[in-house]
């Protein structure tokens, strides 16, 4: 078994510590993804392992040998590096480039032998570059070039393969093909692979374990499931994410939510009636605007429910696939009548969630400003034989405002919020004779908005 041990490594540029107290051990067949934000020391770690940057402290032992105690030509027999981008001077052919991978195994005056050519041919076949052999490297596309460079690394017949953001300039198909290839090398040829990868989803899909760096040191290390949690991602990348297991690839994937805006909290409650993922965008948008968002009734496991959980929004919830009970409807009424604004998304309505719509109508009748997002016509999402459609007509009559797209909502809601605030001020601070004027002014504004 081949082991690569990094022990107590500290790296500095001048007096600035770039890496501190980094220790881990990997064995052959491991595909380790190094992830972390910019400036967390990922590339520096790779540089210290590849002997480009000597650590200030600590050791790196490969197969019982300190890599800083051997000649560079001996290290090159054991370790190959695929850089982020290869700027190759002079127009060497692809085959020339891959043949250079044989250099560590050749004597100074030796020409490439038949066996070298065989090894190179095999490497190029594996990376699907043999047909490019005679082409000048500078005329190849980014993906082809990167595959040629990987072939060169394979021609070194290394035990360790280091890749520094190998996918940066590649399109989707090239990214997948290269990761497939690297994974195969790992499992079939028992290479140790360490790769700096920016794309968390690709890292999760291909790596056997992950190393998460933050602020020059290891924040978390281990299996993909243990490292790639939304808590860890939040702590390291400062981004809210949803981490799920893909049923297709059976690997984790990460959905980033946009970084939260630092807006002033608004002392104004908005209740959102949604479901089946129709409310996620709206919830997030209003949450970011600083409103006190509530939601419900939502079934557990519903996408909107998960969003609400993530945003820590108070929610009235119901068991999965269950109709709304009387108890839930009572809780909903309590919640909704305390709100200043109600939003109904274009959720499909069946007998199970009809109570939501009924409660919204009740709220509209009580004079609570109600917005209905009518993105999909109600007829095509009414599974109650017309009851929901009738309730919608009723809603409109009761003064609910219908809009076509969720993106229009925040502006309208902000306007409503400002008017409500203005009215509050009018009632408390402004002398009597001004009140009437203001009231009529805001009422006019309301009417204009409705028409």
């Amino acid at each position: 078994m081949v082991l690569l041990s990094v022990d107590g490594v500290e790296c500095r540029y001048g007096s600035v510590k770039i890496l501190e107290n980094v220790s881990f051990t990997v064995k052959d067949g491991d595909f380790v993804g190094i992830i972390g934000p910019n400036g967390s020391g990922k590339t520096t770690l790779l540089k210290s392992i590849s002997r480009t940057l000597k650590p200030y402290k600590g050791t790196i032992i490969l197969d019982k040998i300190d890599i800083y105690n051997i000649k560079s030509i001996d290290l090159a027999k054991q370790m190959a590096i695929v850089p982020q981008e290869s700027n190759i001077g002079f127009s060497f052919t692809a085959l020339d480039i891959v043949l250079m991978g044989r250099n560590p195994h050749m004597k100074r005056f030796q020409m490439e032998s038949e066996s070298d050519l065989t090894i190179v041919r095999k490497a190029m076949n594996r990376t699907n570059t043999w047909h490019l052999a005679d082409r000048p490297i500078n005329e190849l596309s980014g993906g082809e070039k990167q595959r040629v460079v990987i072939a060169r690394a394979l021609a070194q017949e290394p035990k360790v393969l280091l890749l520094d953001e190998p996918l940066t300039h590649l399109d989707m198909i090239n990214q997948l093909e290269i990761m497939d290839l690297v994974k195969e090398l790992c499992t079939k040829e028992h290479l140790i692979v360490l790769a700096v990868i920016h794309d968390l989803n690709l890292a999760a899909r291909y790596c056997s374990s992950l190393l998460l760096l933050k602020g020059a040191t290891i924040f978390a290390a281990g299996s993909v499931e243990n490292v790639l949690t939304s808590e860890n991602i939040k702590a390291v990348f400062r981004v809210d994410t949803i981490v799920r297991k893909s049923l297709v690839t059976n690997s984790l994937f990460v959905i980033p939510l946009s970084p939260q805006k630092s807006s002033v909290p608004r002392n104004c409650a908005i209740h959102i009636i949604a479901g089946a993922g129709t409310g996620t965008v709206v919830m997030k948008a209003l949450f970011d605007e600083g409103y006190e968002v509530t939601a419900g009734v939502l079934n557990m496991l519903d996408t909107d429910y998960e969003t609400a959980e993530l945003l820590k929004i108070p929610t009235v919830s119901e068991a999965p696939f269950s109709p709304i009970t009387e108890e839930s409807k009572r809780l909903l009424s309590e919640m909704i009548f305390k709100s200043a604004i109600v939003v109904v998304t274009s959720v499909p309505f069946g007998y199970g969630n009809l109570s939501n719509l009924e409660t919204a109508l009740e709220a509209a009748k009580r004079g609570i400003r109600t917005y209905v997002i009518d993105e999909v016509p109600i007829e095509s999402r009414d599974f109650t034989a017309g009851i929901a459609t009738a309730l919608m007509v009723e809603l409109k009559k009761s003064g609910a405002i219908f809009i076509k797209h969720p993106s229009e909502l925040p502006t309208l809601v902000n306007a409503t919020h400002d008017r409500i605030e203005l009215r509050k001020h009018a009632q408390s601070e402004i002398p009597g004779h001004m009140k009437n004027k203001l009231n009529s002014f805001t009422k006019n504004a309301d009417n204009k908005e409705v028409s």
């Binding site: 560079s72 590096i81 290869s86 560590p104 020409m111 070194q156």
Partner: protein, 360 residues
Amino acid sequence: MTADKVESKYSKRHSRWKLILLALIIALIAAIILCLNIGYAPIKFSDILTILGKQIPLLNGSINSSSVSPVNQAIILQIRLPRILAGAIVGAGLAAAGVMYQGVFRNPMADSYLLGASAGASLGYTLTAIYAGSLALTFLGLGIFQIIAFIGAVLTVFLVYFMSRVGNKVPITTLLLSGIVVNIFILALQTVFELRSGKALIGIVAWIAGGFSNITWLDIYAVFPFVMIGIVLAYFFTKDLNMLSMGDDTAQHLGVNTERVRQILLLISSLITGAVVSISGVIGFVGLIIPHMTRLVIGPDHRILLPASAIVGAIFLILCDSLARVATGASELPVGVITALAGTPFFIYLLRKRKTSYSL
């Protein structure tokens, strides 16, 4: 071309390279004989071959040289041959040094002049002409002028090199920048001394213009070892040069001790440059353009590029110098003018002929 053909082409590459070198050596010999014929005194080819054959130890017994006049023999052996051989050695040295500079610095503009070699040599020559021209000092067959010019060239390159050291490494950009700065500085000094040089000025200007008009066999004996041994030593590092073209990091990862290779090649190429500049003065263009031209034709592999460029440089400079000798009748043109006039159009032709862009 199918991939299988590619494979067989590569396994035959070594013999192809040998063939290229053989052809170039034959061309060099042909160029030497052709140029021996050029000059005011008309000398027949048969006489030239007789005179040369007489100099070859095993052959001389069987050659009858009685038909050749002693004057012609002296013209060939004492005037034309040393001059032509000097052209070959200087051309080979400049071109080989150019290959090394371009490879080591991954820069198409890098040559010995950019790094200050010629400026240093010129300053050395100027100082000698003003203050020490009468000293009859010789060393290894070199006169005082050559010695000081040689020292000036080598010192300047190393001054530039150590000026641009950052920590343990020599970044290309700082190197080229300090090269330019040092060049400007030395040029300023040069101007100051030229203004104070009085009668010596004519000699200085003529030497700086470059040429072979005062070459003797002693110059050749002194410079040939530097160029020959330099090129042979540099050949040890040609595979490293190939890998250096992919950047220092990648070269290191492929097992190249980059900093050591860089220092050794810089030393070798500076010694070569210093040696050739000391006998020929400043001849531009060869070190820059010959490696590019050769690379365009035979490819970028330094294992063939270095020796091939050296021979092409030798042929090129012999032909240019012969043109310089006869082009304008009585007075000679500086050979540097010819190298530029002859080389530029040919280089542009090669550059335009390639469909794809030429990248370094």
